[in-house]
């Protein structure tokens, strides 16, 4: 099978819907779409990695959240969700104990490639750079992202702990890569998630019967 060229908008929309369908809250599902789109725009097809993550964890999002602390971010469960971790790191981009201010390590992260877009958002907001060590792989993340080869190697790492060091920002040109392409294999899986009810009840107000609308039964 040849790869399918998806636009970044399509990658974002597909991954947002898949993440929501797999039970992520809307705001985090948006972050999942952002992360997949960011990587796709840099030539990294992370669709399979996201699908793997969604499939493995669809029942346990709350236990994948990080516990931020100075020096080391632990996991509340066995592994950290890269989206929840990435969002929490990005939220603390300018905090005194945030990733741009002092070195920190994390518990094991599932599909760590998906954290990179958030680290790039951090360095943009924090006007710094970040040195990342993840398993055997080291890479420097600056406002433009990270070199394609490093990202490609990282995308093969299924889980690893992260070690982050803030660095002075040094302007570095990274050539934009080809248009987003993703392998066709994970597409059916992502599309299947797209239409599934989210795991946690959406809000305390939702009182509708827990069946889907009659018009949407086609699968």
């Amino acid at each position: 099978m040849t790869d399918i060229a998806l636009s970044r908008a399509e990658v974002e929309a597909l991954c947002l819907k898949a993440a929501r369908g797999a039970g992520m809250e809307w705001g985090l599902a948006e972050e999942a779409g952002f992360a997949a789109g960011w990587l796709a725009a840099r030539g990294i097809d992370a669709a399979a990695e996201l699908l793997d993550h969604l499939t493995q964890n669809a029942d346990g999002w709350p236990t994948l959240s990080p516990i931020p602390a100075p020096v080391h971010w632990a996991a509340s469960g066995a592994q950290l969700c890269p989206i929840a971790l990435g969002a929490a790191l990005s939220d603390r981009a300018s905090a005194a104990d945030g990733p741009c201010a002092a070195p920190l390590t994390t518990a094991t992260v599932h599909q760590p490639i998906l954290v990179i877009p958030f680290l790039a958002a951090c360095v943009k907001a924090g006007d710094t750079a970040l040195a990342l060590r993840c398993g055997e792989i080291s890479l420097l993340i600056d406002a433009l992202g990270a070199p394609f080869e490093d990202l490609a190697r990282l995308s093969h790492l299924r889980s690893a702990a992260l070690s982050l060091h803030p660095m002075p920002a040094t302007p570095r040109a990274i050539a934009p890569t080809a248009l987003p392409r993703i392998a066709p294999k994970p597409l059916p899986g992502l599309r299947r998630w797209r239409g599934t009810p989210p795991c946690p009840p959406p809000t305390p107000h939702a009182k509708g019967p827990a069946r889907r609308p009659a018009t949407t039964t086609e699968r």
């Binding site: 305390p204 939702a206 827990a210």
Partner: protein, 554 residues
């Protein structure tokens, strides 16, 4: 285009507040103006002297074939590739589930070669079932208005022109049922074209597509009339044809757009409100401007009389509009007078004397004489939405609650224990992935509700924040409450973008989705808004505007 100096005087005292502007009833009375996207496109094409021609026309006697329309600007060339089909009458459907159309189109970035055309011929006629590439900016399709299309072909074939009345009754030869852009079905992402001057205003590729489709529809009737009538046939008269626009049939799919794009919505509204404020702040009304105002009012009045709808709500609004425009005409006999700030006086009079429909129509009419003052603002209509995406975790619970109190007081006042306050829910149909509205009490599916009930989400967020001390960071709160993350982002956007939120409850029993659609379509430049129910509408684009060869010959 005149760009006003950056130190343009502060006119904020004349700007309407979001509590007035962002109500659904007022948004649902929006009128196109010179700031509308199709007007921006036509001004540019005219001022930059774009050359438009038709390098390919291969259409047979049955109206089947292909054509290319080439629009050459100073920096780049864009080509509309059109495929004309022979569609049996029983297959013609405006619904999004249709699988065949009278004509299908793509806007190509540059000039397509034979290989491009072959690739497009294999995909464009399939629409959603095909794929386009980053070389394409839009994908669109259109159906004939069977009655008018046939009538015009037959009339021209006999060597006579159709009557203006027969054209006005429908107003278009074809109506588009979808114009997709921004990365849909493999097309170029918005980011690919956002830096291009000529496409930086929103929806310029889509507007160019529709404008060239309009030329195609007239070429097609001329071609079929000539085939049918031979030497007797005449082409459609150049003055008459201006009465024809391109119809557009739009369902609920469009309604959530403005809610999903708060920064963009803010920028559209802010540009229009700044433009109106600038006009109101003018110290005098020159003779030239007064003359132009009268001309614009006459055009608006003519338009209101040609505007037809059978929908009870729209009929009432049209009655209001016609009466209001007559009132304005009467008032203008005494205006501008000699007192200060004549434009502001006119506006304040309108607020006290006219319905919302009339006020919004007058706002558009008042902008018309002041291109030098307001056209430069259209460079601010676009938005870098990605730049507003990151949540600022350093903000505090106090600051968030203060922002909710300031920008969402309309939402916090809603009593969500009342069934009517959340009678509906938005969901996405699995069949076509299109937004739909469900009734919460009687229909299943609320467990899959889309996050468009902003008022309730704001109230839920506020209630959750109460449990935290004021200095708690948003980062800390968001970690414990991922269910509020989406709304936290919106609140932070609203702090910087006062017109970002529709200030009405979008899941209330009384909510009318057509109000959202009319607002968006008015920014497109659509006229003759005609709801066919409270969930789908027909409109016309480019009616009364020039054709490509009108501009080239000018």
């Amino acid at each position: 285009m005149t760009h006003p100096a950056p130190d343009y005087p502060d006119v904020s005292a004349f700007r309407r507040p979001a509590d007035v502007v962002m109500r659904l009833a007022r948004m649902g009375s929006a009128h196109p103006s010179r700031l509308s996207f199709l007007r921006v496109l036509l001004r540019r094409i005219k001022s930059e002297g774009w050359q438009i021609d038709r390098p390919l026309w291969q259409v047979d006697a049955n109206g089947v074939g292909r054509a290319v329309y080439r629009a050459k600007g100073p920096a780049r060339t864009y080509s509309l590739v059109a495929f004309a089909h022979d569609l049996p009458d029983d297959q013609r459907s405006d619904r999004v589930i249709a699988t065949a159309w009278d004509a299908t189109f793509a806007l190509f970035d540059g000039e397509p070669d034979a290989a491009d055309l072959a690739r497009l011929a294999a995909n464009v006629p399939l629409q959603e079932a095909g794929r386009v590439s980053p070389r394409e900016l839009t994908l669109a399709r259109a159906n004939r208005s069977v009655r008018l299309f046939r009538h015009v072909v037959n009339t021209l074939a006999k060597g006579t022109q159709p009557t203006p009345q027969s054209l006005d009754e429908v107003g278009y030869l074809m109506r588009t049922t979808a114009v997709y852009g921004a990365g849909k079905f493999g097309a170029a992402d918005r980011a690919v074209i956002a830096d291009r001057d000529e496409l930086s205003t929103p929806f310029q590729a889509e507007m160019l597509t529709v404008w060239l489709i309009r030329a195609f529809t007239v070429d097609l009737v001329d071609h079929l009339a000539a085939t049918k009538g031979g030497a007797k046939a005449v082409p459609l008269d150049r003055t008459l044809r201006r009465r024809l626009g391109v119809g557009n049939s739009t369902g609920l799919g469009m309604a959530p757009f403005l809610v999903r794009h708060p920064v963009l919505l803010n920028n559209w509204m802010a540009v229009r409100e700044e433009a109106l404020a600038r006009v109101r702040a003018l110290p005098e009304a020159t003779g030239e401007a007064v003359q132009a105002l009268h001309t614009a009012l006459t055009a608006a009045t003519d338009n209101a009389h040609r505007w037809r709808s059978d929908h009870p709500i729209q009929k009432g609004k049209l009655t209001d509009l016609r009466a209001d425009l007559a009132r304005v005409a009467g008032h203008l006999t005494q205006w501008p007078g000699t007192a200060s700030l004549p434009w502001n006086r006119l506006w304040l009079w309108a607020e006290s004397a006219l319905t919302v429909e009339g006020q919004e129509a007058l706002a558009s009419v008042m902008l018309e004489p002041h291109g030098d003052l307001v056209d430069g603002l259209t460079c601010c209509l676009g938005a870098d939405e990605a730049a507003q995406f990151r949540l600022n975790g350093a903000a505090t619970v106090d600051a968030t609650r203060a922002a909710l109190a300031q920008h969402y007081d309309w939402a916090l006042r809603v009593d969500f224990t009342l069934p009517d306050a959340q009678a509906r829910f938005w969901y996405v149909s699995e069949e076509k992935l299109e937004p739909r509205l469900g009734a919460r009490q009687t229909e299943p599916g609320a467990d899959r509700e889309q996050p468009l009930g902003i008022a309730r989400m704001a109230a839920d967020l506020d209630a959750a924040l109460v449990a935290y001390t004021g200095e708690t960071s948003v980062a800390e709160f968001a970690l414990r409450h991922p269910e509020h993350r989406l709304m936290l982002r919106r609140v932070q956007i609203a702090r910087r973008h006062p017109y970002a939120e529709v200030r009405d409850n979008l899941i209330a029993e009384t909510m009318l989705p057509i109000d959202l659609m009319r607002c968006k379509l008015a920014f497109f430049g659509a006229s003759h808004f005609d709801p066919r129910s409270d969930k789908w509408v027909r409109i016309s684009l480019f009616q009364g505007e020039p054709f490509p060869d009108d501009l080239s010959n000018a």
